[in-house]
């Protein structure tokens, strides 16, 4: 069913392009917009445009930033001897929230997936190797996802970096905090056992 107004129809179409939004939800969102104060709607539109225009990728680590290089790359309090490699900027955000890590980052922009046409050239892998040319970096921590594609990407990077003589580590896989052993799935539990550490 198509709505009677062309501009409303256009808005619904635009909303339904958003991830996870189907036609029904798009319709709901569009009607919500129509009921709002025009000033409020303008603010939303401005926020979307401003974010898109001002936010870009850091030219060093490819994190999203408004100032280039990004805050982390510029910071003097960060440990410049370690670079943690992640697939997406979301992953960086998640790691930052922990407050555990004080080093630098490198956002690959995805993982190797020949099925989706993603090879090393489609990722920011060469730029990572470039960063290792200064002797500052002593360790690369690979924090790609623990799935088939993420593991292949980790192995690929290790093959590239090891000959340069920089230490390569992979984040540990194990048990979630606050859970019971008996409820853990076998794969996770198996890995937690084989990757155990001294106490």
């Amino acid at each position: 069913m198509f709505s009677s107004s062309q501009s409303l129809e256009r808005l619904i179409r635009e909303f339904s392009k958003l991830p996870g939004i189907g036609r029904k939800t798009a319709q709901r969102l569009a009607f919500w917009v129509l009921k709002r104060d025009p000033k409020e709607v303008r603010e939303l539109a401005d926020a979307i445009r401003e974010a898109r225009e001002k936010v870009r990728a850091c030219s060093i680590c490819f994190n999203i930033t408004e100032s280039d290089p990004c805050e982390i790359c510029r910071s003097e309090r960060r440990d410049r001897s370690a670079i943690c490699v992640v697939e997406e900027a979301n992953d960086l955000l998640a790691l930052e929230k922990t407050g555990e890590y004080k080093g630098l980052y490198h956002v690959l922009g995805g993982a190797l997936s020949p099925l989706d046409g993603i090879g090393p050239e489609q990722l920011h892998a060469r730029e990572l190797i470039e960063r290792l040319k200064s002797d500052e970096v002593k360790e690369i921590i690979i924090a790609t996802n623990p799935n088939v594609e993420g593991e292949a990407t980790a192995a690929f990077l290790a093959k590239l970096i090891k000959p340069i003589g920089v230490k390569v580590t992979r984040i540990a896989r194990g048990l979630p905090q606050g859970s019971d052993l008996e409820y853990a799935d076998n794969t996770t539990l198996g890995q937690a056992i084989s990757n155990r550490r001294d106490y």
Partner: protein, 373 residues
Amino acid sequence: MFIQNLKLTEFRNLKNAEIEFSPEINLIVGSNGSGKTNILEALFYTGSGRSFRTHLDENLANTDSEYFRIEASGKMGEHEVHVEIGVEPGKRKIIKVNSSPIHKLGELFEYFRLVEFSPYDLEIVIGSPSVRRRYISITIAQLDPPHVAVLSDYHKTLSQRNALLKSFEETPRLSSSQETSLAVWDEKLAVHAVQIHESRKSYIHKIADIAADFYRRISGSEEYLKIEYNPSPNLEHFTAENFCEKLASRRQREIAMGQTMYGPHRDDIKFYIDNLEAKSAASQGQIKTAVLSLKLAQYEYLKQKLERLPIILLDEIFSDLDKNRLDFVMNLLPGLGQSFITTSKLSEVNNLEIFKSKFEVERGIPRRLKEQS
């Protein structure tokens, strides 16, 4: 272990059915197309999330329905188990055990373990290798549920590697970065291939003798059943290193074909009767005996490993097996734990007294048969 209650919604021709079973021997009577085999199929599905007749879930939903639902409750030792499976073909299966959702299919294999024997199983001997691979995958998963995750990672890696090979089609000489990419996928594939190879090799090795023994007892002859694993590639030492080497030896061909030429996705299992390959040389009767022996060996080995009696499903054995084979199975039955047997005619069954519960299915509606006095 046993299944006490089964509830089906929109499952094949069983639109809405609920059945209470006996923990011992159950008989299901129904004419062709009544839905009796569908009940066995649904029971099997509660243990593996799969059918033994089709690998397409679309075929399992009632023709008027977009989805189907199976609920089974029973016991494993002291523990109550309640399995709920909701399937909308094309979407992710929703599986719950004791009301908690299961996210990995492998976890479902921890509960009801079922061994099935039906006329469809002749395909294991005479059908294509993919039928045998499917059978052995499900069977090993029953013994070792994490095997499901290994298979899934292997197949994901395989698709990725094939896509990479295809992308090299027009490349006369690989760049060093392309070489490295391929090496990464080779190594990942090799790790999973070795795991699958070892599971299959050890399983077939373990059941081959048990099956040969059943074959001799059922046939009452000196014929010798040999079950042999035919792995791809056939290496003396199946290590990740040797596997990668084998892949490298066919690299040009792999790139030309856009396909991985070696690996467990090309495995086969061979059946020989007195050293003649059963697929081409055996009689219908010999093949039936071979499959029955394979299934009984599977049951026996599962029982030893689990230290519990698996559930056994026997479809149409009265019309399908001759008297000797049938007598053999009927004599085993009382020692096998919970079992489900179908027949199209009640008159085919001699010793009705061993069946603790009897059901009749008519056009998708099951009902309990009253005890005859």
